[in-house]
Protein backbone atom coordinates (compact mmCIF):
# COMPACT_ATOMS: atom_id res chain seq x y z
CA UNK A 1 0.00 0.00 0.00
CA UNK A 2 1.15 3.51 -0.83
CA UNK A 3 0.25 6.01 1.85
CA UNK A 4 0.67 9.77 1.54
CA UNK A 5 0.23 12.00 4.57
CA UNK A 6 -0.12 15.80 4.58
CA UNK A 7 1.88 16.39 1.41
CA UNK A 8 2.55 20.03 0.55
CA UNK A 9 4.63 21.40 -2.29
CA UNK A 10 5.16 24.89 -3.64
CA UNK A 11 7.26 26.31 -6.46
CA UNK A 12 8.47 29.92 -6.20
CA UNK A 13 5.85 30.78 -3.55
CA UNK A 14 3.07 29.21 -5.67
CA UNK A 15 1.34 26.53 -3.61
CA UNK A 16 0.70 23.51 -5.83
CA UNK A 17 -0.14 20.87 -3.23
CA UNK A 18 -1.48 21.64 0.22
CA UNK A 19 -1.95 19.02 2.90
CA UNK A 20 -2.82 16.15 0.53
CA UNK A 21 -3.51 12.84 2.23
CA UNK A 22 -4.54 9.52 0.73
CA UNK A 23 -4.02 5.79 0.39
CA UNK A 24 -3.47 3.66 -2.69
CA UNK A 25 -4.40 0.10 -1.83
CA UNK A 26 -2.90 -2.86 -3.68
CA UNK A 27 -5.24 -4.35 -6.28
CA UNK A 28 -7.44 -1.27 -6.60
CA UNK A 29 -7.47 1.18 -9.47
CA UNK A 30 -7.11 4.76 -8.32
CA UNK A 31 -7.72 7.92 -10.32
CA UNK A 32 -6.37 11.37 -9.65
CA UNK A 33 -8.62 13.84 -11.47
CA UNK A 34 -8.31 17.59 -11.68
CA UNK A 35 -8.16 20.57 -14.01
CA UNK A 36 -4.93 21.47 -15.79
CA UNK A 37 -2.31 22.92 -13.43
CA UNK A 38 -3.84 21.60 -10.22
CA UNK A 39 -0.84 19.45 -9.34
CA UNK A 40 -1.70 15.92 -10.53
CA UNK A 41 1.73 15.41 -12.12
CA UNK A 42 3.48 17.03 -9.16
CA UNK A 43 1.70 14.65 -6.79
CA UNK A 44 2.72 11.64 -8.89
CA UNK A 45 6.30 12.91 -9.10
CA UNK A 46 6.31 13.33 -5.31
CA UNK A 47 5.07 9.75 -4.91
CA UNK A 48 7.83 8.30 -7.11
CA UNK A 49 10.46 10.60 -5.60
CA UNK A 50 11.24 12.77 -8.61
CA UNK A 51 10.10 15.84 -6.66
CA UNK A 52 10.75 16.20 -2.94
CA UNK A 53 7.70 17.45 -1.04
CA UNK A 54 8.14 20.47 1.26
CA UNK A 55 6.12 18.75 3.96
CA UNK A 56 4.49 15.40 4.65
CA UNK A 57 5.51 11.77 4.24
CA UNK A 58 5.08 9.03 1.65
CA UNK A 59 5.43 5.38 2.53
CA UNK A 60 5.41 2.17 0.52
CA UNK A 61 4.17 -0.82 2.53
CA UNK A 62 5.16 0.98 5.70
CA UNK A 63 8.63 1.94 4.45
CA UNK A 64 9.19 5.69 4.73
CA UNK A 65 10.12 6.82 1.23
CA UNK A 66 10.41 10.55 1.88
CA UNK A 67 13.26 10.27 4.35
CA UNK A 68 14.80 7.06 3.01
CA UNK A 69 18.50 6.87 2.19
CA UNK A 70 19.47 6.51 -1.47
CA UNK A 71 19.84 2.72 -1.20
CA UNK A 72 16.32 2.17 0.19
CA UNK A 73 14.90 4.67 -2.32
CA UNK A 74 16.55 2.77 -5.15
CA UNK A 75 15.15 -0.57 -3.96
CA UNK A 76 11.60 0.86 -3.57
CA UNK A 77 11.79 2.46 -7.02
CA UNK A 78 12.59 -0.89 -8.56
CA UNK A 79 9.06 -1.93 -7.55
CA UNK A 80 7.51 1.04 -9.38
CA UNK A 81 6.41 1.27 -13.00
CA UNK A 82 5.49 4.66 -14.42
CA UNK A 83 4.35 5.78 -17.84
CA UNK A 84 5.34 9.38 -18.50
CA UNK A 85 3.22 11.98 -20.25
CA UNK A 86 5.79 12.34 -23.02
CA UNK A 87 6.38 8.55 -23.11
CA UNK A 88 10.08 9.07 -22.13
CA UNK A 89 11.29 6.34 -24.46
CA UNK A 90 15.04 6.16 -25.10
CA UNK A 91 14.89 7.49 -28.63
CA UNK A 92 18.44 6.41 -29.44
CA UNK A 93 17.34 2.79 -28.98
CA UNK A 94 14.98 0.53 -30.92
CA UNK A 95 11.54 -0.45 -29.56
CA UNK A 96 12.92 -3.88 -28.68
CA UNK A 97 15.87 -2.35 -26.82
CA UNK A 98 13.45 -0.08 -24.92
CA UNK A 99 11.37 -3.09 -23.89
CA UNK A 100 14.49 -5.05 -22.93
CA UNK A 101 16.09 -2.18 -21.02
CA UNK A 102 14.68 -2.97 -17.55
CA UNK A 103 15.55 -6.65 -18.07
CA UNK A 104 19.12 -5.71 -18.97
CA UNK A 105 19.46 -3.37 -16.02
CA UNK A 106 17.49 -4.99 -13.25
CA UNK A 107 17.75 -8.73 -13.81
CA UNK A 108 20.50 -11.26 -14.20
CA UNK A 109 18.60 -13.19 -16.88
CA UNK A 110 20.54 -14.80 -19.69
CA UNK A 111 20.35 -13.44 -23.24
CA UNK A 112 17.93 -16.14 -24.46
CA UNK A 113 15.57 -15.61 -21.55
CA UNK A 114 15.60 -11.85 -22.07
CA UNK A 115 14.95 -12.24 -25.79
CA UNK A 116 11.98 -14.46 -24.99
CA UNK A 117 10.56 -11.98 -22.49
CA UNK A 118 11.22 -9.05 -24.81
CA UNK A 119 9.43 -10.65 -27.73
Amino acid sequence: MIEIKNISKSFNNKQVLLDVTGQFVKGKTNLIIGASGTGKSVLLKCIVGLVKPDEGTISFDGRDFTNADSELKQSIRREIGMLFQGSALFDSQTVEENVMFPLDMLTTMKRDEKDGQGK
Binding site: K45, V48, G49, L50, S70, E71, K73, Q74, S75, I76, R77, R78, I80, G81, M82, F84, Q85, G86, A88, L89, F90, D91, P102, D104, M105, L106
Partner: protein, 242 residues
Protein backbone atom coordinates in the same frame (compact mmCIF):
# COMPACT_ATOMS: atom_id res chain seq x y z
CA UNK B 1 29.80 28.69 -5.49
CA UNK B 2 26.34 27.10 -5.47
CA UNK B 3 26.96 25.64 -8.93
CA UNK B 4 30.38 24.36 -7.89
CA UNK B 5 28.84 22.66 -4.84
CA UNK B 6 26.16 21.10 -7.06
CA UNK B 7 28.90 19.91 -9.44
CA UNK B 8 30.79 18.25 -6.56
CA UNK B 9 27.60 16.58 -5.27
CA UNK B 10 26.92 15.26 -8.79
CA UNK B 11 30.44 13.81 -8.94
CA UNK B 12 29.98 12.13 -5.55
CA UNK B 13 26.72 10.48 -6.70
CA UNK B 14 28.53 8.83 -9.62
CA UNK B 15 30.18 6.34 -7.31
CA UNK B 16 27.30 5.37 -5.01
CA UNK B 17 24.63 2.74 -5.80
CA UNK B 18 26.27 1.89 -9.10
CA UNK B 19 24.90 -0.62 -11.55
CA UNK B 20 26.51 -3.97 -12.41
CA UNK B 21 30.04 -3.88 -13.85
CA UNK B 22 28.88 -5.42 -17.18
CA UNK B 23 26.48 -2.55 -17.77
CA UNK B 24 29.34 -0.07 -17.55
CA UNK B 25 31.65 -2.02 -19.83
CA UNK B 26 29.17 -1.84 -22.72
CA UNK B 27 28.40 1.83 -22.04
CA UNK B 28 32.10 2.75 -21.82
CA UNK B 29 32.81 1.06 -25.16
CA UNK B 30 29.88 2.90 -26.78
CA UNK B 31 30.99 6.23 -25.33
CA UNK B 32 34.63 5.62 -26.28
CA UNK B 33 33.51 5.21 -29.90
CA UNK B 34 31.42 8.38 -29.71
CA UNK B 35 33.99 10.47 -27.86
CA UNK B 36 37.23 9.01 -29.19
CA UNK B 37 36.90 7.36 -32.58
CA UNK B 38 34.38 9.88 -33.92
CA UNK B 39 36.82 12.68 -33.02
CA UNK B 40 39.78 11.24 -34.92
CA UNK B 41 39.02 13.11 -38.16
CA UNK B 42 38.87 16.59 -36.60
CA UNK B 43 42.00 15.89 -34.51
CA UNK B 44 43.92 14.72 -37.61
CA UNK B 45 43.00 17.84 -39.58
CA UNK B 46 43.63 20.34 -36.76
CA UNK B 47 46.92 18.86 -35.52
CA UNK B 48 48.47 18.37 -38.97
CA UNK B 49 47.76 21.95 -39.99
CA UNK B 50 48.87 23.38 -36.64
CA UNK B 51 52.21 21.56 -36.99
CA UNK B 52 52.60 22.79 -40.55
CA UNK B 53 51.80 26.38 -39.62
CA UNK B 54 54.13 26.26 -36.60
CA UNK B 55 57.03 25.09 -38.79
CA UNK B 56 56.44 27.70 -41.49
CA UNK B 57 55.98 30.59 -39.04
CA UNK B 58 59.03 29.56 -36.98
CA UNK B 59 61.12 29.45 -40.17
CA UNK B 60 59.75 32.87 -41.18
CA UNK B 61 60.83 34.40 -37.86
CA UNK B 62 64.29 32.81 -37.81
CA UNK B 63 66.17 35.50 -39.70
CA UNK B 64 69.52 35.29 -37.90
CA UNK B 65 72.14 33.20 -39.74
CA UNK B 66 73.64 32.35 -36.33
CA UNK B 67 70.66 30.17 -35.43
CA UNK B 68 70.85 26.71 -37.04
CA UNK B 69 67.83 25.63 -39.07
CA UNK B 70 67.37 22.40 -37.13
CA UNK B 71 66.00 24.59 -34.31
CA UNK B 72 62.78 24.76 -36.34
CA UNK B 73 62.28 21.03 -35.69
CA UNK B 74 63.11 21.46 -32.00
CA UNK B 75 60.65 24.36 -31.63
CA UNK B 76 57.87 22.47 -33.43
CA UNK B 77 58.50 19.42 -31.22
CA UNK B 78 58.49 21.30 -27.93
CA UNK B 79 55.54 23.53 -28.79
CA UNK B 80 53.60 20.52 -29.98
CA UNK B 81 54.32 18.21 -27.08
CA UNK B 82 54.10 20.80 -24.33
CA UNK B 83 51.19 22.90 -25.47
CA UNK B 84 49.64 22.51 -28.90
CA UNK B 85 48.88 18.79 -28.88
CA UNK B 86 47.33 18.54 -25.41
CA UNK B 87 45.77 21.98 -25.02
CA UNK B 88 44.61 22.87 -28.54
CA UNK B 89 43.39 19.34 -29.17
CA UNK B 90 41.43 19.41 -25.90
CA UNK B 91 39.98 22.86 -26.65
CA UNK B 92 38.81 21.47 -30.00
CA UNK B 93 37.43 18.40 -28.23
CA UNK B 94 35.70 20.63 -25.68
CA UNK B 95 33.74 22.04 -28.60
CA UNK B 96 32.99 18.75 -30.29
CA UNK B 97 32.63 16.36 -27.36
CA UNK B 98 31.41 18.91 -24.78
CA UNK B 99 28.49 20.08 -26.91
CA UNK B 100 27.65 16.49 -27.80
CA UNK B 101 27.56 15.40 -24.15
CA UNK B 102 25.59 18.43 -22.92
CA UNK B 103 23.16 18.31 -25.83
CA UNK B 104 22.53 14.59 -25.41
CA UNK B 105 22.01 14.72 -21.66
CA UNK B 106 19.98 17.94 -21.90
CA UNK B 107 17.62 16.37 -24.42
CA UNK B 108 17.29 13.28 -22.24
CA UNK B 109 16.44 15.50 -19.29
CA UNK B 110 13.74 17.57 -21.00
CA UNK B 111 12.12 14.49 -22.57
CA UNK B 112 11.92 12.85 -19.11
CA UNK B 113 14.29 10.02 -20.06
CA UNK B 114 16.44 10.81 -17.02
CA UNK B 115 13.33 10.75 -14.80
CA UNK B 116 12.37 7.39 -16.32
CA UNK B 117 15.76 5.99 -15.30
CA UNK B 118 15.33 7.35 -11.77
CA UNK B 119 11.85 5.84 -11.43
CA UNK B 120 13.25 2.47 -12.50
CA UNK B 121 15.63 2.69 -9.54
CA UNK B 122 18.68 3.29 -11.69
CA UNK B 123 21.26 5.83 -10.56
CA UNK B 124 20.82 7.99 -13.65
CA UNK B 125 23.90 10.14 -13.00
CA UNK B 126 26.13 7.12 -12.59
CA UNK B 127 24.60 5.25 -15.54
CA UNK B 128 24.78 8.20 -17.93
CA UNK B 129 27.78 10.25 -16.79
CA UNK B 130 30.35 7.84 -15.34
CA UNK B 131 30.88 5.96 -18.65
CA UNK B 132 31.36 9.29 -20.45
CA UNK B 133 34.04 10.40 -17.97
CA UNK B 134 35.85 7.04 -18.08
CA UNK B 135 35.64 6.91 -21.89
CA UNK B 136 37.04 10.45 -22.14
CA UNK B 137 39.88 9.61 -19.72
CA UNK B 138 40.72 6.53 -21.83
CA UNK B 139 40.51 8.15 -25.25
CA UNK B 140 41.79 11.72 -24.80
CA UNK B 141 45.42 10.70 -24.08
CA UNK B 142 45.38 8.52 -27.22
CA UNK B 143 44.02 11.40 -29.29
CA UNK B 144 46.63 13.75 -27.84
CA UNK B 145 49.47 11.31 -28.60
CA UNK B 146 48.17 10.96 -32.15
CA UNK B 147 47.85 14.75 -32.43
CA UNK B 148 51.48 15.18 -31.29
CA UNK B 149 52.76 12.74 -33.92
CA UNK B 150 50.67 14.31 -36.67
CA UNK B 151 51.59 17.85 -35.68
CA UNK B 152 55.31 17.05 -35.83
CA UNK B 153 54.72 15.24 -39.13
CA UNK B 154 52.75 18.24 -40.42
CA UNK B 155 55.70 20.46 -39.55
CA UNK B 156 58.01 18.06 -41.38
CA UNK B 157 55.83 18.06 -44.51
CA UNK B 158 55.45 21.85 -44.57
CA UNK B 159 59.12 22.48 -43.81
CA UNK B 160 60.58 19.98 -46.25
CA UNK B 161 58.10 20.47 -49.10
CA UNK B 162 58.45 24.27 -49.05
CA UNK B 163 62.23 23.93 -48.83
CA UNK B 164 62.72 25.98 -45.64
CA UNK B 165 64.51 23.07 -43.94
CA UNK B 166 66.01 19.81 -45.13
CA UNK B 167 64.70 16.43 -44.03
CA UNK B 168 67.96 15.69 -42.20
CA UNK B 169 67.93 19.00 -40.30
CA UNK B 170 64.29 18.56 -39.24
CA UNK B 171 64.87 15.02 -37.99
CA UNK B 172 67.99 16.16 -36.13
CA UNK B 173 65.98 19.06 -34.64
CA UNK B 174 63.16 16.95 -33.29
CA UNK B 175 65.67 14.57 -31.67
CA UNK B 176 67.90 17.35 -30.28
CA UNK B 177 67.90 17.54 -26.43
CA UNK B 178 64.68 15.52 -26.21
CA UNK B 179 63.16 15.29 -22.73
CA UNK B 180 60.90 12.29 -22.12
CA UNK B 181 59.25 14.08 -19.21
CA UNK B 182 57.51 16.41 -21.67
CA UNK B 183 55.55 13.42 -22.99
CA UNK B 184 54.55 12.47 -19.43
CA UNK B 185 53.47 16.07 -18.84
CA UNK B 186 51.36 16.09 -22.01
CA UNK B 187 49.63 12.85 -20.99
CA UNK B 188 48.94 14.15 -17.47
CA UNK B 189 47.42 17.27 -19.03
CA UNK B 190 45.24 15.23 -21.36
CA UNK B 191 43.93 13.13 -18.44
CA UNK B 192 43.03 16.23 -16.43
CA UNK B 193 41.42 17.93 -19.44
CA UNK B 194 39.44 14.77 -20.27
CA UNK B 195 38.00 14.71 -16.77
CA UNK B 196 37.19 18.43 -16.78
CA UNK B 197 35.56 18.49 -20.23
CA UNK B 198 33.45 15.36 -19.73
CA UNK B 199 32.35 16.18 -16.18
CA UNK B 200 31.59 19.87 -16.77
CA UNK B 201 29.66 19.14 -19.97
CA UNK B 202 27.76 16.36 -18.24
CA UNK B 203 26.90 18.69 -15.37
CA UNK B 204 25.58 21.33 -17.76
CA UNK B 205 23.50 18.81 -19.69
CA UNK B 206 22.25 16.84 -16.69
CA UNK B 207 20.74 19.88 -14.98
CA UNK B 208 19.11 21.38 -18.07
CA UNK B 209 15.67 22.82 -17.36
CA UNK B 210 13.12 23.94 -19.91
CA UNK B 211 12.92 23.04 -23.57
CA UNK B 212 14.87 22.90 -26.81
CA UNK B 213 16.18 26.45 -26.43
CA UNK B 214 17.65 25.64 -23.03
CA UNK B 215 19.37 22.54 -24.42
CA UNK B 216 21.17 24.82 -26.88
CA UNK B 217 22.12 27.16 -24.03
CA UNK B 218 23.42 24.22 -21.99
CA UNK B 219 25.60 23.11 -24.89
CA UNK B 220 27.02 26.61 -25.29
CA UNK B 221 27.69 26.90 -21.56
CA UNK B 222 29.28 23.45 -21.54
CA UNK B 223 31.75 24.45 -24.26
CA UNK B 224 32.48 27.84 -22.71
CA UNK B 225 32.99 26.51 -19.18
CA UNK B 226 35.02 23.53 -20.39
CA UNK B 227 37.37 25.79 -22.37
CA UNK B 228 37.84 28.11 -19.38
CA UNK B 229 38.49 25.13 -17.10
CA UNK B 230 40.99 23.64 -19.57
CA UNK B 231 42.93 26.90 -19.84
CA UNK B 232 42.98 27.43 -16.05
CA UNK B 233 44.10 23.83 -15.50
CA UNK B 234 46.73 24.26 -18.22
CA UNK B 235 48.26 27.18 -16.35
CA UNK B 236 48.10 25.43 -12.96
CA UNK B 237 49.66 22.23 -14.30
CA UNK B 238 52.45 24.18 -15.98
CA UNK B 239 53.18 25.94 -12.69
CA UNK B 240 53.05 22.74 -10.69
CA UNK B 241 54.76 20.23 -12.95
CA UNK B 242 57.34 22.11 -15.01
Amino acid sequence: MKSFGKYLILLSTLLVNRERFNVYVKRIVDEAILIGIDSVFIVVIVSTFIGAVTAVQTAYNLVSPLIPLYIIGTIVRDMTVLELAPTITCVVLAGKVGSNIAGGLGTMRITEQVDALEVMGINSASYLILPKIIAAILTFPLLVIMAAFLSIYGGYLAGVLTGVITEKEYIYGIRYQFSGYNITFAIIKSLVFAFLISSISSYQGFFTKGGALEVGQSSTEAVTNSCIAVLCADYLLAQLLL
